[in-house]
């Protein structure tokens, strides 16, 4: 098969001066698996029509898991692969990120199974969108040039815009999709303009070359500043950093809940991956520009997200604001990433650690939200009153997630916060310490609203209409068990997660 391709390309090449650069098929195998799986899923719908419905979600889950096999073989191979002049890189960092996206995708499929099947929401196309979006994310993990980053970003975003509007008859879902789409397009326009400037100054789209060009020039022209600022702000939207977060609460509230979990975890993680690639490989010599910018965004996001969450009564919106605050925490290490290669490495592994743990606990929390709203048909905080008495196990698991999100040891979220503090303070700069203090204060404010939910579950009386146990379907239960187990395991033995997330971008970026 591959030979046939090669000979076909060979024929093309012989007709002109074109020479195809060698492609490392092993390195792109995860993407190809995902692509093939997505195509298969679409084909099954076309061929079998109604008959295919029953297995669609199971198949989508498998499609998400299959690329893990080549990722595993690549990891065992443990050789850093680079293609297209360094535009596409497969190393330990990108592999762990890819695995994170795929597993998050799988968990979202688990969350979606009953939700989508019961709502008659164009099931097959739904999973197709989800897989395309995950494909964009997986691509993002390896993307090391501006064009690939841009295309990967759009590939992961455009299906997500549509997914947010997927409940077509629901006004709120329409509104969610529209807001997400418009803000997303504006942000990507700003980011594109910034990219064009960076390309203009450096003369290259490949991040390493950009770094050599703008860092070696030593010049800090206003255009570089403008370009870097615009690019970072473009991704600031994606990670819902204040003040580019405005879409998040509205979109989270309106979108179908599994999609919200997807946006809150995978899509946000993709934004961080892009930011890390750009900042640590591309902009590292320009810390005068990106450090203050990320510092401000991080501090504002943490504080604003937290205080805005305090009086929130809708749990999904509350999670949105909490997500903004968490994004601030994840941004924080990047605010000191320019202090040297060792610090940059620490920052990257702190962010990756945070992303992995955050994915587990946040998807878990959304799983509970989904389970509860199945019964109460409401996202109001009141539906959590007395959950401990109606369904004690759900209340306990939710408490685990909330405590983890709040950063209470010995749950995963604690170690995530800790690694952020470590990387901030290891920079030994006043800015680093300052941000650490801001983060510490915010870590405490966050107890306020996470505790409020916990209190409702444990202390309050259940609402009269909400008496009776919450029934959890099997796929949702699987997701909850997986995420809760991971959350606890990561907190009790952080060695598990650090074993994977002890990654470096510098090693490759030079």
């Amino acid at each position: 098969m591959i030979d046939a391709f090669s000979s076909a390309f060979g024929l093309l090449a012989s007709s002109g001066a074109f020479e195809r650069p060698p492609i490392d098929w092993h390195a792109v195998a995860p993407e190809l698996c995902l692509l093939g799986g997505g195509a298969l899923l679409t084909l099954i719908d076309v061929i079998w029509l109604e008959k295919g419905r029953s297995i669609t979600s199971a198949l989508a889950g498998i499609v998400m898991l299959i690329p893990l096999i080549p990722i595993l073989t690549l990891a065992i191979d443990s050789e850093d692969r680079s293609m297209f002049k360094g535009a596409f890189v497969v190393d330990k960092y990108s592999l762990i990120i890819k695995a994170l996206f795929l597993l998050s995708g799988y968990l979202v499929v688990l969350l979606s199974t009953n939700y989508i099947a019961e709502g008659e929401y164009w099931e097959n196309e739904y999973y197709g969108m989800l897989i395309s979006s995950v494909l964009g994310m997986v691509l993002m993990a390896s993307a090391r040039d501006l064009i690939t980053i841009f295309v990967a970003l759009e590939l992961l975003s455009i299906p997500a815009y549509l997914l947010a509007a997927w409940r077509k008859k629901d006004h709120k879902s329409n509104e969610a999709g529209l807001k997400y789409y418009l803000m997303g397009v504006f942000a990507s326009a700003i980011m594109l303009y910034g990219m064009s400037l960076i390309f203009g100054v450096s003369g290259s789209t490949i991040l390493e070359e950009i770094n050599e060009s703008i860092a070696s020039g030593g010049a800090n022209t206003p255009v570089i500043t403008l370009g870097i600022t615009f690019v970072i702000i473009g991704f600031g939207f994606k990670v819902s950093a204040f003040p580019f977060h405005t879409w998040a609460p509205d979109t989270y509230e309106g979108a179908p809940t599994p999609v919200t979990a997807f946006l809150a975890v995978a899509s946000k993680a993709a934004g961080f991956v892009a930011l890390m690639n750009l900042v640590v490989i591309g902009f590292i010599g320009q810390e005068d520009v990106f450090q203050p910018l990320i510092w401000i965004l991080a501090a504002l996001s943490m504080t604003a997200g937290n205080v805005m969450a305090l009086r929130q009564t809708n749990i999904v919106r509350l999670m949105a604001y909490s997500g903004i605050a968490q994004a601030g925490f994840m941004l924080a290490p990047l605010a000191v990433a320019g202090e040297g290669p060792a610090i940059a490495d620490k920052a990257v592994s702190a962010v990756v650690t945070y992303l992995v743990i955050y994915a587990a606990m946040n998807i878990g929390a959304f799983g509970i939200i989904l389970a509860v709203s199945r019964k109460t048909k409401s996202a109001d905080l009141e539906s959590y009153n007395g959950l401990f008495r109606t369904s004690p196990s759900l209340a306990i698991v939710m408490t685990v997630f909330l405590a983890s999100l709040a950063g209470i040891p010995p749950l995963g979220g604690w170690y995530a916060k800790f690694s952020v503090f470590t990387s901030l303070t290891s920079a030994s700069t006043n800015w680093g310490y300052g941000l650490a203090v801001v983060a510490a204060i915010n870590a405490v404010i966050a107890f306020g609203y996470y505790g409020k939910i916990a209190m409702r579950m444990w202390v309050e009386d259940p609402h009269e209409t909400h008496v009776g146990e919450v029934k959890v379907p099997v796929s949702l239960l699987t997701a909850l068990v997986l995420t809760a187990g991971t959350t606890i395991a990561f907190g009790v033995a952080p060695g598990i997660v650090t074993h994977f997330t002890d990654v470096s971008l510098i090693a490759f970026g030079g």
Binding site: A165, Y193, G200
Partner: protein, 99 residues
């Protein structure tokens, strides 16, 4: 020809586009303004590509054109969806979720 003349033209289009998306409340008009912004970026990319004699600029611009087409298609689909449900494409009236 100076590089900066193209860049300034691009920035003018970019800012007119920004004005457009902020000042228009009809959904389709906002999409048109977005096209202005994306075209401004393309001028930049091609101008820089010519200056640095790097083909990547043009390739980038092509990618932007392709994706802009996809984006506007998706945007129109969402606007149509809104129109079907609310019989209006007035974006300023869409504020049922807030706070």
């Amino acid at each position: 020809m100076l590089l900066v003349q193209f860049l300034l033209l691009s920035s003018v289009l970019f800012c007119i586009g920004i004005y457009g998306v902020l000042a228009r409340k009809n959904g389709v008009m906002v999409l048109m303004s977005i096209e202005l912004i994306l075209n401004a970026v393309n001028i930049n990319l091609v101008a820089f590509g010519t200056m640095t004699n790097n083909i990547a600029g043009e390739v980038f611009a092509l990618f932007v054109i392709a994706i802009a087409a996809a984006e506007v298609g998706v945007g129109l689909a969402i606007v149509l969806l809104i129109f079907r449900n609310r019989s209006s494409v007035d974006l300023s009236s869409i504020d049922s979720m807030k706070g």
